[in-house]
């Protein structure tokens, strides 16, 4: 069960199950949206022509992309290509890199609101020539007149020329005592944005500062998706390291490590995550990365236990004894012979930890210990308003979490079918 064959078996298992295949494709789609978020939702136009008529133009959106963003997008297309052309061995490495860059990417200052819409409105550029992305809002672009505007395809979101809601609970009513109707503030429609009452203006509504929820969901996907993958990878590495050492070397090393596993297992993981996270310094590590590592730090014991048990079972197996007799060092016997055969259950556990990590991140963000404003994550988006009247703010980010975690788990199921020896035995027994 060398690593290439593990991946091949997992891939075959996913392909053989329609549900898992659909889930994997959906996740790829989510990841693509997250990676390409700056190209899909941005307050800068792709292209705009100079007003001078000389034919010159600018590419504001592409000019604003940082090197990291470009690297991320290139890496992502490499990953997709590797998947497409069957070079699966590379997929994991590249996907991990993508996740790592993800964690760091959204904080770039280059993604701050720009003045391009104002410059176009001021006549510096030809307004008709401006080509905006499908969602013409940046993730931090505010429009205070649209604070908590419901999804714009709803009748209750309709706003009159003066800026007042026409119907629904937010339509202005005269004050019962003085009879004064509160004066609305008109909603500014900037260059490149959909019309005031277009259904596409804010299809998922707006938040407290009038930011577009759909745009924020797209950028928030980066943190949420990256934390899941990164935490599972770190948890796997740590668990394998500890579990292999404990199982293979035995003696006092095993005793010490096993006690450590036991201690960490006793902890309500969530308390520990909160504690450790309160001490993480956002200047040293991007918050998304430190969240992922903290989740790994409390989650590794379950993987370590699995690896330890497998290594214990295998270390005196004939093929390992044979390797030792042929002169392999203990370390080489462990790495080259025992481990490749012992990782199955751990890989299964790690594949389920991806969704688990995403859930923990959401919960942390809900409590305010997640990534810091204005960087969105799905968890922090869902907890931006606890007012029941702002249901769109709670519903859509939560659905995104639910669908992605369900997707991870479905893929995890396929991984288990491929790698779990217990299931393999049962399948053969059933025949």
């Amino acid at each position: 069960m060398a690593d290439g064959r593990v991946l091949a078996r997992v891939a075959a298992s996913i392909r053989a199950r329609p549900v898992a295949r659909a889930a994997a494709l959906l996740l790829l789609f989510f990841y693509s949206l997250a990676v390409l978020a700056p190209l899909i939702a941005n307050d800068r136009p792709y292209f705009v022509r100079d007003a001078s008529g000389a034919g010159g133009g600018r590419w504001p959106l592409f000019e604003s992309l940082s090197r990291l963003e470009v690297l991320l997008i290139v890496l992502w297309f490499l990953t997709l290509a590797a998947l497409l052309f069957g070079r699966r061995r590379w997929v994991l490495a590249v996907a991990l890199l993508v996740a790592l860059v993800f964690g760091a990417a959204p904080g770039r200052a280059t993604l701050a609101p720009s003045d391009w819409k104002e410059r176009i409105a001021a006549g510096e550029f030809e307004a008709q020539s401006a080509v905006f992305p499908p969602i013409a809002f940046g993730f931090a672009e505010t429009n205070l007149a649209e604070s908590y505007r419901p999804p714009t395809w709803l009748a209750s979101a309709e706003i009159s020329d003066a800026g007042a809601y026409v119907r629904g609970p937010r339509a202005p009513v005269p004050d019962p005592v003085t009879g004064v109707v509160p004066a609305p503030s008109p909603v500014p429609v900037r260059a490149g944005e959909p019309a005031r009452n277009s259904a596409w203006r804010h299809p998922l509504g707006a938040d407290s500062l009038g930011r577009d929820v759909l745009a924020r969901l797209l950028y928030g996907a980066r943190v949420s998706l990256a934390v899941g993958l990164l935490s599972a990878a770190a948890l796997f590495a740590l668990g394998v390291l500890v579990g292999a050492a404990a199982g293979y070397f035995g003696g006092w090393i095993d005793l010490l490590l096993s006690r450590g596993i036991e201690v960490v297992l006793c902890f309500p993981a969530f308390f520990l995550v909160l504690l450790v996270l309160a001490s993480a310094d956002p200047r040293v590590l991007p918050p998304a990365v430190s969240i992922a590592f903290v989740i790994a730090l409390v989650g590794w014991p379950s993987v370590a236990r699995l690896v330890r048990a497998e290594v214990l079972r295998l270390r005196d197996a004939d093929f390992v004894v044979a390797a030792r007799a042929l002169g392999a060092s203990p370390l080489r016997a462990l790495v080259a012979h025992v481990l490749p055969n012992a990782l199955g259950p751990a890989i299964v556990a790690a594949s389920f930890a991806v969704g688990g990590g995403a859930l923990v991140e959401a919960a942390l963000s809900y409590l305010g210990f997640g990534v810091q404003v204005p960087i969105p994550s799905w968890g922090s988006l869902a907890s931006e308003s606890h007012h029941a009247g702002h249901w769109w703010l709670q519903l859509f980010p939560g659905l995104a979490i639910l669908v992605s975690v369900a997707g991870y788990n479905l893929v995890g199921e396929a991984v288990r079918e491929a790698l779990d020896p217990r299931l393999a035995g049962r399948r053969e027994g059933a025949r």
Partner: protein, 340 residues
């Protein structure tokens, strides 16, 4: 057992002390709204000395373990005034809250546990009571429409963030939706004037949504485990043997397959408990319940070391006890271990 216990206390202490900034630093960073008694630098220094925040770490750790109080007003043998000689885990004394110096943390935790433990127990029992029949039915009726529908629903539940489930329940059943159930706190404001029976009803109505929020994710996880165990058991040799002997299907399922499938659930119950306690932070925050999770969270926000240390230790103890109990129950329930 003792090394594990010591390891727990060490880990708790290390994690709690790694949090940067103590309560005094917090007060100096945000003067408005902070404890007014910590306004000046001199008061802060005195506060640190009183709570041993300036003492060497090993001394703080020994102080935390007990049984001697090492603070300035502690045991005379260690240079204290003798006003409060005993302290720490071994003396079951976690000190007092920083914000309310007259409130012992241990007493407050006992009060908070009166909320958290019933919620956790009721939701766990409910989860088991519902998960076992669901799991059995999904294993015996594999492929039927009903099985697929439940599997889908459970899958979605399993992938749902707890806090979001709570928010959605509030949306649907709270005042903004159907308006059937209260969504905040344990009692209505006028609850003190109610008769005992009405008061209990009021509590029950307030408890429905939090309990549901705690139960549903556990339920989803458990029923999938039961189903897996049942499927495995139904395909095993002893079930085939039972069928071959001509036993009715109901007896085979209940008497043979189910009984063997229930054993691993004992261990599961212990492994769910830490998650239930951790999840209580979320549920207690969503529904504004005065439970222990909420207490830990408030303590962490206020950098109250006494609260943080106490809540974390207590929840680790509970988990440790649950694991031991599960091992014991397993030994009683499994004849192979009992006679082995």
């Amino acid at each position: 057992m003792v090394p594990t216990f010591l390891g727990i206390t060490l880990l708790v202490f290390a994690a709690a002390r790694a949090v940067p900034g103590d309560a005094a630093a917090l007060a100096s960073a945000a003067p408005e709204g902070a404890d007014p008694s910590l306004a000046g630098a001199a008061q802060r220094a005195q506060f640190r000395a009183e709570h041993m925040l300036d003492a060497p770490l090993w001394k703080q750790y020994v102080h935390f373990l007990g049984p001697w109080d090492l603070s300035p007003r502690g045991h005379p043998r260690f240079g204290g005034s003798g006003a409060h000689p005993w302290h720490g885990l071994l003396a079951f004394d976690f000190g007092n809250e920083y914000g309310r110096p007259t409130v012992p943390v241990a007493e407050e935790i006992a009060r908070r546990l009166e909320v958290t433990v019933p919620f956790a127990l009721v939701s766990m029992l409910l989860a088991f009571a519902i998960a076992i029949p669901i799991g059995v039915l999904s294993a015996t009726r594999r492929g039927s429409f009903l099985e697929r529908a439940t599997a889908f629903a459970l899958y979605a539940l399993h992938a749902t963030p707890t806090f979001w489930l709570g928010l959605m329940l509030v949306l649907v059943f709270g005042a903004a939706g159907l308006g059937w159930l209260p969504v905040v706190g344990l009692h209505d404001q006028d609850a003190t004037s109610l008769a005992p029976a009405d008061r209990f009803l009021d509590l029950a109505r307030h408890a429905i949504l939090p309990v549901a929020t705690l139960t549903l994710p556990t339920l989803a996880y458990l029923s999938r485990q039961v189903k897996g165990e049942m499927v495995e058991a139904l395909e095993s040799g002893y079930v085939r043997a039972a069928r071959a002997r001509g036993l009715p299907e109901g007896a085979v399922v209940r008497g043979h397959a189910l009984r063997n499938s229930l054993l691993p659930l004992i261990t599961l119950a212990a492994s769910i408990l830490p998650a239930a306690i951790g999840g209580s932070i979320i549920v207690e925050t969503v529904f504004a319940l005065p439970g222990m999770g909420r207490y830990a969270y408030e303590g962490l926000l206020a950098r109250d070391l006494n609260i943080v240390l106490a809540t974390t230790t207590v929840s680790a103890w509970i988990t440790f006890a649950a694991i031991l109990l599960a091992d014991l129950a397993y030994a009683i329930a499994d004849p192979r271990i009992r006679h082995g």
